[in-house]
Subunit: 762 residues, 2 copies
């Protein structure tokens, strides 16, 4: 067991390395040549167009003003200065609320730490009954619950503290939920007119033998939402086209690269071979080769575009339906349209940028099968991921490598290299897996068929959280793989499980303190350095960039990776809540993490990140639920721990806590969750009315007509009207001649095709 | 262990007693004097007004036509003859679908029984390996899984059968869900115009300092549903009035009783004492006494009525809001109205008869606290109900009685009486508790704050099902009270629990066979006799009935008691599914139960019951879910049983079953449940359009104006218009002058009170 001085040393090392990162950042960010890496947000906002400093040529690349280096922490107050409303304006609500997760960590843990150090630490420390016993105690243990003898009356303190911490956490959570919900509603109420306010995504339009999807959609909504329907856009299956566009882009990049090479050294024509990867085959002029490739793909692309427009099979049974008013859209999104709840599924349309186009055409039956498959796959991934990795590890030994690549044998046999490989290899498979894990989880979520990027990120985050909970938290406390744990738990009684885990909790405090420092502190400090984007930007700048526009594309500001960073924060919440009563000594480390992360991410959000979409903080219910989960886990583990400490009479009192917490969660859900799921009609009506008063002559149809074009069609064909045929019919003529011949599936009573006008009110 | 002949004997006894019941019924139902007990439905429908047979005086009471007695089972085919659509017309969809629960039992278990007897019984029976072993086997055991030796390959048959039974059950369930859902939608689509189609129940109207609830509701809906809002009715707190009316009714009954007594024997004026229960105090003329009582209460009632109408405090913050179209109501019921999801809560209004008026005013915060309280109370009721009963039992012994009522001592000491009391007493407390259990559960559900009788019955049924599952099913398999079981389970591992229960399953087969016969067969046969209503009717007829109307009131047809009878059926589903693979010999007994129950209840529904409300089969999702639960329980228990049989390699294959079943349940939920929760807009629009075409001049406002009056106001004050002030404003004048002075909580932008008309479309 580590002593206090051990931990102090580890802390010092980690603090030093964090400071080294920060200094490196302070130096690099001041170089004008890196300006686009560390301040891309301002370029995207149009505030900056070139590095701030001007003057001699060298100043364009290196900052020689020594005074600016003295203020190497100046970015910190600057990052904190921007007030929240301005931040929302600048970076969107998602980012602003994401920062509140760190703030909520501080709000929960700072008072907890103060209380714990004022009460729990003295109670643990002054406990002299075991001073002379033979059990060895480290310094940290003296601060923790382990130091208290079995059956002591002092456990009542811990019990009371558990109550206090639970109520405090719930109080903060409740307050925060209320604030975020009102922020979201305020954001939705004050934001500018956006297409998604008027638009509903309709999926599973049933097939009809007589009418096209577009006609069917128009008829259906003209009949069933006759006073509100405005226009619609069908969805094209452009996945093949997207592939072509991607390939063309690649070829164009190579062309640019060789062109640039040729421009810099016109004496030598660049060449490449025609075979696989340019390694074999005939040698040709590279520029000509890629020019012809680009031309060829452009032709294919044009053909594909025509095909998509003409072939009815490329129209998916889904559409974006827009309404005259927000009220109409709110009504349509919240109601069921037909008898069969799996047809004409309506939901709020995501922002146009937020749409995940590929998944729009999956029918309902497949959706539920896909969900089953992903659930089973995720279960196996979580509990059995060690099996393939162990298999790879068993292959990847020195002998294996020598067999596959015999010519490296002499090199490998060098002693230092050999030992390096032997130490390095077993870990590498696991490391690679963990790096790719968020991507794997994202692929799983995509397979599930969610239709917006924000929902995909939220789903991946849930999966990642469960993975971390099982494999990092439980995996560190109990030895053995996740599957072995699962097996143990299945063979243990419901009362034994919390005991098994609870008993090991105090012993693992030092491990988790180190974990917080290495993964948390150093990770955050590394985040601000942005090493990967820095390198990629400079490489691109060297080889690909020709114009200012290219440079802008090379910038890659990135965005908050909600799917992987939020679950990691949740791990710290879990650690903090679990150890708050058991080993309060861990809390300051968590607090330092939250402070550091808050400042760093605030800086990044202001200066770097460019969100891909704006979901209006739709992720908050997930954040809330996970903190509640952590709270319940901490209560159960404390229950297990105390029951092994012969403090049995406290058990009934502790069981009350999870019950109350679950009830609190349900209460919050009923009170606030709907703000994140539904759009109240009153709000919609208010906004509609205001808008109608301010701009009575607004041509909403023109505004909405092309809003939900597939991004691939948007770029090239601003003037091509064939794509959005839903918007073509004239404004007043709401009766569309039907091509229907059979009466199958007729969604409207026939008289509507005759004399009576559907515009008449009832 | 019982042998086959033991069970045969028990079966014979039960069959004989059931036949005795049926014969008694056959005789009693033919007596004209009992006509109103056994055929009240026809009187209520207006088809009959007096017993069918007429003639001599004696024929009015006794049926002397001996031929009719020969056809003593004639009611059975008659009960089966009525086709389902006519049944729905005659008794409502609730009753028709309730019968389908028995049908689904037959559909599931008949093919299962055939398959099991064709395959499983031979496999078990022909198993000769243990013929000569020393273990004793009864005949039933030879038919069951217990007869197969450990680790035998024959368990594969049981595994395959478990798969077959699961798929068959799911197939039947799926088909039935589809049928019931379409029956419900068809019912809703074809039923006559009903007020609840146009009406939404609004709860938690926020308090407003300037406006009354009625004005507030009107303003809110005029603004936020301006094209659709028609009228509304506020809800009065008439609980005190209801008490007075009930008391008056009681007094009136006594008055009638004495009046009748006096009429029959005018020589003797009936008297009663004024004190408690008429036992002590001054002796007065009973008729005069009760007349004055009735007058007094009538006065109080009138005052209370005035008070309710005038006092704004008696108006609850809830209202029934009616719309011009079904579409408008469907929209309002399915959407969220304001930012705060706990205010202006909208839901479909129940039928007027179905409303549970008392609960309409409970605020949201109390609702969630009440739910917590009930959940905790129900937990204790289920697991600890034996504690108070054991306490009562310990008091209620011979000595205790002798102490309390010493003058009975000599009587009690008589030997036969003593032994009777000793055998009888311990059971009586439990028996009384079990009789009152459904009432207790209903009180709990009422406390939870549900607003319709149908929802209350569904909630009580859920509770009762859990109680039966824990205390009857598990309680019979594992000895000990529910709390002891709970304690055992908490100290057992997740894999041990199914084993513990699974192992005992085959041994309890004979017990459950007897249970099915005694509780099921005899219970159903007793149901058709209607002993209690028969006695009560004749007593009332003797003492209270003066006019034909009184006689009609004395009839008491009763209704299906969904809250207690459905969970009992579910118990048979559970037994059938659990024993289908283990001891298929139990299946025929279950089938007999379902056949008998189906015929008896069909008869009762056609001839007797008068449903209090019509919920449109809203209970089906519950029925479906409980059968799924039973299926999963049966799979887990089989898993436990087989793993003790050393058939371990079948475990992974069996785990697949519950996973698939849970997935199937989620699939069904997504596909069909919404038919029972939401009202699709297309259906609403179609019905609106048809109605508009058929009756263009319908005065819907007049139709709806008094629909949701409190039943107490409905009877007396058909012409009193003050009660429903929501409907008073004129049809065209939709602008209500506001009394608002402050701008707090203003739900509408102010310009609407000014010049622009809210009728203008956007």
């Amino acid at each position: 067991m580590a002593t206090l001085s051990d931990i102090g040393l580890a802390a010092a090392i980690n603090i030093l390395s964090a400071i080294a990162f920060l200094i490196a950042f302070a130096v690099l960010r001041l170089q004008p040549v890196n300006d686009r890496v560390y301040f891309p947000k301002w370029y995207l906002n149009g505030v900056r167009s070139s590095p701030t400093r001007s003057g001699a040529f060298v100043y364009k690349f290196v900052n020689l003003d020594w005074r600016s280096y003295l203020r190497f922490l100046a970015w910190m107050p600057a990052a904190l200065k921007m007030p929240e409303p301005e931040l929302i304006d600048h970076a969107g609500l998602d980012s602003a609320v994401y920062l509140r997760i760190y703030l909520i960590g501080l709000k929960i843990f700072v008072p907890m730490a103060i209380l714990a150090f004022a009460i729990l630490v003295p109670v643990n420390w002054t406990n002299s009954t075991l001073e002379d016993s033979k059990v060895e105690f480290s310094d940290i243990d003296k601060l923790s619950i382990s130091y208290i003898p079995l059956g002591s009356q002092r456990f009542w303190t811990h019990l009371v503290m558990a109550y206090a911490f639970t109520f405090w956490t719930c109080y903060v959570l409740h307050k925060e939920y209320a604030i975020v919900a009102s922020m979201r509603l305020h954001f939705l109420a004050t934001e500018k007119r956006r297409p998604d306010q008027f638009t509903v995504l309709v999926r599973n339009v049933p097939p009809d033998p007589d009418e096209s999807v577009s006609e069917l959609v128009e008829h259906f909504f003209l009949v069933n939402h006759r006073d509100h329907y405005l226009t619609h856009q069908v969805v094209y299956n452009a996945n093949k086209l997207a592939k072509l566009v991607k390939k063309k882009k690649q070829m164009q990049n190579w062309l640019d690269y060789y062109q640039l090479k040729y421009d810099r050294d016109p004496s030598k024509k660049p060449t490449r071979k025609t075979g696989t990867l340019g390694l074999c085959g005939k040698e040709v002029d590279a520029i000509e080769f890629y020019t012809s490739k680009v031309d060829e793909i452009s032709k294919q692309e044009a053909i594909e575009r025509e095909l998509i427009k003409k072939d009815p099979k490329s129209i998916m049974p889904a559409a974006f339906v827009s309404f005259r008013t927000r009220w109409g859209a709110a009504v349509c999104a919240q109601t069921q349209q037909t008898r069969n709840p799996t047809l004409w599924l309506t939901e709020w349309a995501p922002e146009p940028r937020d749409v995940y186009w590929k998944n729009l055409a999956i029918p309902f039956v497949y959706l539920s099968i896909r969900r089953l498959i992903v659930a089973v796959a995720f279960f196996f991934l979580t509990f059995f991921f060690m099996i393939p990795i162990a298999f790879v590890q068993s292959l990847a030994n020195i002998e294996g490598i020598e067999k596959v690549v015999p010519f490296l044998k002499s090199l490998i046999e060098v002693k230092t290299i050999k030992s390096f490989i032997q130490g390095f290899l077993p870990g590498i498979a696991l490391k690679i897996f963990l790096i790719f894990l968020p991507t794997i989880l994202m692929l799983m979520s995509k397979f599930e068929g969610l239709t917006s990027l924000s929902a995909l990120e939220r789903r991946s985050a849930s999966k990642y959280y469960i993975f971390l909970l099982v494999n990092v938290f439980l995996g560190s406390i109990i030895t053995g793989t996740a599957f072995e744990q699962l097996n143990t738990f299945l063979h243990q009684s419901a009362t034994e499980i919390p005991k098994t885990i609870g008993v090991s909790i105090p012993q693992k405090a030092t491990f988790f303190i180190t974990y917080v420092m290495v993964d948390g502190w150093a990770g955050i400090a590394g985040e601000i350095l942005r090493l990967k984007p820095l390198i990629v930007y400079h490489l691109k700048n060297l080889f690909l960039v020709k114009t200012e526009k290219d440079r802008e594309e090379a910038m890659d500001p990135g965005s908050i990776d909600f799917a992987s960073s939020e679950p990691k924060i949740q791990l710290y919440f879990l650690l903090g809540l679990v150890y708050a009563v058991v080993t309060p000594f861990l809390l300051p480390f968590i607090i330092v993490f939250f402070v550091l992360a808050y400042v760093v991410f605030r800086h990044q959000i202001i200066n770097v990140y460019n969100q891909k979409y704006e979901s209006g903080a739709a992720f908050w219910p997930d954040v809330h639920r996970r903190i509640i989960t952590a709270l319940i886990i901490s209560q159960l583990l404390l229950l297990g721990l105390l029951s092994t400490k012969h403090a049995a009479n406290s058990t009934p009192l502790l069981i009350v806590l999870p019950v109350l917490t679950i009830w609190f969660d349900r209460f919050c859900k009923g009170r606030y969750e709907s703000a994140f799921v539904k759009y109240p009609l009153q709000e919609a009506m208010m906004k509609d009315t205001l808008e109608h008063a301010r701009e009575p002559n607004l041509d909403l149809r023109a505004y909405l007509r092309r809003a939900y074009d597939h991004p691939l069609f948007k770029d090239n064909e601003e003037n091509d009207d064939n794509i959005s045929d839903g918007g073509e019919s004239e404004f007043e003529n709401k009766l569309v001649p039907t091509k229907r011949q059979s009466r199958m599936n007729t969604p409207v009573p026939s008289k509507y095709n005759g004399s009576s006008s559907p515009l008449l009110p009832e």
